[in-house]
């Protein structure tokens, strides 16, 4: 049975570094990967009525990120059982715990320092929730790349 990893992302190519890091150990076995981004959703009835998770994700993701995900999937065909993107919009620790339970999360990767950006105006950092939860949290030292020409381009995936 594949383990499920939860990896926070800000939909930048650089944030996929965590994913690469997760797949680095040789004896990793099969993993299911959930890329997590946290966005508060509106509590207005009308907006909830027309809310579409897919639309939101489509707005946040660009073509390069999609391609980068595909590249990593192709590279680690034998390790990645599934790769999907989840939006978490709860605002309590309890909701986060339920989210972890519902998605059968075995392990969470947390970049240190937490350098992910809030790409949406309602984005928020999952860091406090991750720190306070009871799941297995692995901190990964992360140094966001310095000023390189291909920053935010698909080409950056090779630098990770």
């Amino acid at each position: 049975m594949a383990r499920t990893l939860l990896i926070p992302t800000d939909f930048s190519i650089e944030s996929l570094w965590l994913l690469k890091e997760a797949l680095r150990p040789v004896q990793i076995g099969k993993v299911s990967i959930i890329l997590l981004h946290c966005v508060y959703t509106s509590d207005s009835i009308v907006e909830l009525l027309f809310f579409s998770r897919k639309e939101l994700v489509d707005k946040l993701i660009n073509e390069d990120f999609r391609d980068a995900c595909k590249i990593l999937r192709r590279k680690y065909t034998h390790h990645i059982e599934s790769l999907r993107i989840e939006i978490f919009s709860g605002n309590t620790q309890r909701a986060f715990k339920d989210f972890l339970l519902a998605n059968h999360i075995d392990e969470i990767l947390l970049p240190h320092p937490f350098g992910l950006k809030n790409v949406h105006r309602d984005s928020f950092s999952p860091e406090p929730f991750i720190r306070n939860c009871h799941a297995v949290v692995t901190e990964v030292a992360w140094q966001p790349s310095e000023d390189i020409p291909e920053k935010n381009k698909l080409a950056a995936i090779f630098l990770l």
Binding site: R74, E150, A155, I157, F158
Partner: protein
């Protein structure tokens, strides 16, 4: 009327649009008018009939009381119509033809009343409605006639209104048809103008990319593809001689100089060997250049049809590296296959092997050249529908404001004076990649390095997700 051959499509479209909208409005008005006429006539006959019944009852009923009541009803509720007249004719009267004659009515109107119980007749503006009335003793033909003045007045108003509306709508439709056809054909005209501007002198011009994905953008992208091919062919032709002579000149100068010096006086055997070694090396270089020139000529850019095959990109990279190793032994090209997928199928693209070889060796050569043979990292990855190649150097970079000119033929960056080159490689590469529908993106930081990203679609060899 216009003759068919000289009429522009734009005019045809306008006329068609105009006629279509006119037909619609005319049919609509005519049918509305017709149905209103029908209704108003039927309605008027009904009114006449009601008057006939009430009057007959009032006049012919024997009971005084009901007569008075009906007279009252008639007076209060049924206003008199213009020129309203009532006739009571006994049904068994043997003089029907004479009566008909004296009233100016056709005889079969009477017969119809007798047979069907009711009938209508119209004589100019006077309308007749007749019913058969069963009195206490006798049967009567009750005929009421009146002038349909009000309704006719209304109908003529309606008709005039419709005619006026049709006139206004026709003007409106005409102007809309003209505006519409102009609007539709405006992008086509723009393309025509733009294409007319493009001649052999400015083949690098392209039609604008439209954001919308419609027939017009298809047309302009088709034009652009054609221009790509034209431009590549033109440029290769134009630059071939200057390229070739320059490239050949350098080793020749070296050979001639070396032999001149050596022949100036008697030398030792050792010195002759050294000179001959140099000559051999330079001759070898010459051979390589002529070979690569031949190769350039063979790339099919000069008019021969391009053949597109499966090209395995990792294999191609090795080939390119081999070529570069031969041409420039001091290069430090590293191939990075860390993200290469397991399945080699994913690395196959639809392309022309020689052209892609030329394009990639151009890119990698540039990277080596402008970084003074520092490390150049060439990476490859595949996403399934695309193959991504990245050439990254740590060279002199490209000034930010010059980045947009690097694909212009003969353009050379302001910081490239120390390097040999003609500003042909990159445009050629760009054109070759365009032929493959590939995406070429160059990003650079001055004095830090340049990264070139090539995204090649796998073409028809798309694999399932």
């Amino acid at each position: 009327m216009f003759s068919k051959s000289s009429m522009k499509t734009q005019t045809k479209l306008a006329i068609f649009f105009f006629l279509a909208s006119m037909a619609t409005i005319v049919v609509l008005s005519a049918s509305v008018y017709y149905f209103i006429i029908q209704y108003s006539f039927t309605d008027f006959y009904k009114r006449l009939e009601i008057r006939g019944v009430v009057t007959a009852k009032a006049q012919l009923d024997q009971e005084e009381a009901s007569q008075a009541v009906l007279q009252e009803v008639r007076r209060l509720h049924l206003e008199r119509l213009p020129e309203e007249k009532e006739y009571f004719i006994p049904a068994d009267d043997g003089e029907l033809p004479q009566t008909a004659d004296s009233l100016g009515l056709p005889l079969n109107f009477f017969h119809q009343i007798l047979q069907e119980g009711e009938a209508t007749h119209q004589k100019e503006n006077t309308f007749y409605a007749g019913i058969l009335y069963q009195g206490k003793q006798d049967k009567y033909l009750v005929i009421v006639s009146a002038n349909n003045y009000h309704n006719l007045q209304l109908l003529s108003h309606l008709r005039n209104g419709f005619l006026l509306a049709i006139l206004i709508v026709s003007l409106l439709a005409l102007s809309m048809a003209i505006a519409f056809s102009k609007k539709v054909f405006q992008p086509v005209k723009a393309i025509t103008r733009r294409v007319m501007e493009i001649s052999s002198k400015n083949l690098h011009l392209r039609l604008e990319d439209r954001k919308v994905n419609d027939e017009i953008s298809e047309l302009s992208s088709t034009f652009n593809n054609m221009l790509d091919r034209l431009e590549t062919a033109f440029e290769t032709q134009n630059n071939f001689i200057s390229n070739a002579s320059h490239e050949l000149n350098t080793p020749l100068t070296s050979i001639i100089g070396q032999t001149d010096v050596t022949l100036a006086k008697e030398r030792t055997k050792q010195e002759y060997v050294e000179t001959l070694t140099v000559v051999q090396r330079e001759a070898g270089r010459l051979e390589k250049i002529t070979k690569s020139l031949l190769f350039l000529a063979q790339t099919g850019l000069t008019g021969k049809a391009l053949t597109f095959d499966k090209v395995r990109m990792d294999q191609l990279l090795w080939d390119v590296k081999e070529t570069i190793d031969k041409m420039n032994p001091r290069n430090k090209v590293q191939l990075n296959f860390s993200l290469m997928p397991d399945s080699p199928e994913l690395l196959k693209v639809k392309g022309n092997n020689q052209l892609l070889h030329l394009a990639l060796s151009n890119l990698i050569n540039n990277a080596c050249k402008y970084s003074n043979n520092q490390a150049v990292i060439v990476s490859i990855a595949a996403s399934g529908s695309k193959v991504i190649l990245v050439v990254k150097d740590q060279g002199i970079g490209i000034p930010e404001d010059e980045l947009k000119f690097i694909f212009d033929p003969f353009f050379r960056g302001s910081n490239t004076k120390a390097f040999e080159g003609y500003g042909i490689g990159l445009p050629l590469t760009r054109n070759i990649l365009r032929l493959h529908q590939a995406d070429l993106e160059v990003v650079s930081t001055l004095n830090k390095g340049t990264t070139v990203q090539v995204v090649l679609p796998t073409g028809h060899y798309t694999l399932d997700q």
